[in-house]
Symmetry: C3
Subunit: 138 residues, 3 copies
């Protein structure tokens, strides 16, 4: 078994869900044949998640629902000096998560037919985002 | 260290939480002595999670709460052509997650006394569900 | 590659978010140079999560928001015999999660600048909490 590790840096993205399956696949190509790929987002106001990879309304519905669930004008928030979208972003990140672990079989991500990997940007004006990719296997 | 990988296929299950600890334990038996077990559900409308493993009211309370949190008649949902339970299922999956990683110690899952592994089915009429199990360790 | 595994036991903590990055770093020091650290909480009424590591109002806002999201007096809960804070604790744990996987680079956790590791205690009067730490890498 071996460990391989590298960083994928994404440019600033708009608020919402962005499909990044292809960028991840390109980065891990030729890495290992069987094992696990671990993706770790080094930020606290965006998330990594897996969701349905075809219909764009799934992504917009998810954005809509999360904005209603964690409203920017929540009257009890005290952490507001970084903007009204900041504390909601931290909470969304806590709910959705910072990392993903995905099996690799025959050299490829063993995603289900409908599964895609998303960078879910929660800020209105985010900077670039770094994902550390760690492969472990043979 | 070694990597072992296999698939557990569950038959169609009713909506709600289903304890699958025993099926997972049976599948990984004899695999490794120390390391990690990774479970990956290849679907976007059911979830894998860990929760209290004794009292059935915990499971029914969780189903009730999630249904209230993500109502099927949410007026803003646009992704509705696969049924009113579909978009809520995608959101529940985003909140609960698609995979679990559990330590293995002395050849067994190192779960706490009250922890059980659940397949949380979010659809009313789901098909069978595939879980890819990856063991890494010695 | 090698696997190393040990347990970190935390004393009883008050309800809310507790930064434990330093305790984790102390425990894994000298373990591996490159690979992954997996943290597994053996309990169902507290969570492990990553969040902003500086401003204490992020932590109190998160506690406030979660308490409003999963209220203790939710009228439909049936699992109430362990106290009004118990079923909400199980749900918060399902939303936030039981384990974290974090890359290790140059012998250290590869956390982003603003990322800290938290034990999020959801009970009013919790006991001590055990975290199994598994390192895999070189």
């Amino acid at each position: 078994m071996t460990t391989k590790q590298f960083t994928l840096t994404l440019p600033p993205l708009s608020r919402g869900m962005h499909l990044i399956t292809e960028q991840i696949e390109a980065k891990i190509k030729g890495g290992i044949s069987i094992g696990l790929a671990h993706l770790f987002l080094q930020h606290t106001s965006a998330s990594l998640c897996i969701n349905e990879n075809i219909d764009p309304t799934v992504r917009s519905d998810a954005e809509t629902f999360l904005n209603d669930l964690v409203p920017e004008d929540y009257p009890k928030f005290r952490h507001t000096y970084e903007g009204s979208d900041d504390m909601p972003a931290h909470l969304k990140n806590m709910f959705l998560g910072t990392s993903l672990t995905i099996p690799i079989t025959h050299g490829k991500l063993a995603l289900g037919t409908w599964q895609g990997i998303y960078l879910f940007e929660h800020r209105d004006h985010a900077g670039s985002r770094a994902i550390i990719i760690t492969l472990q296997g043979d």
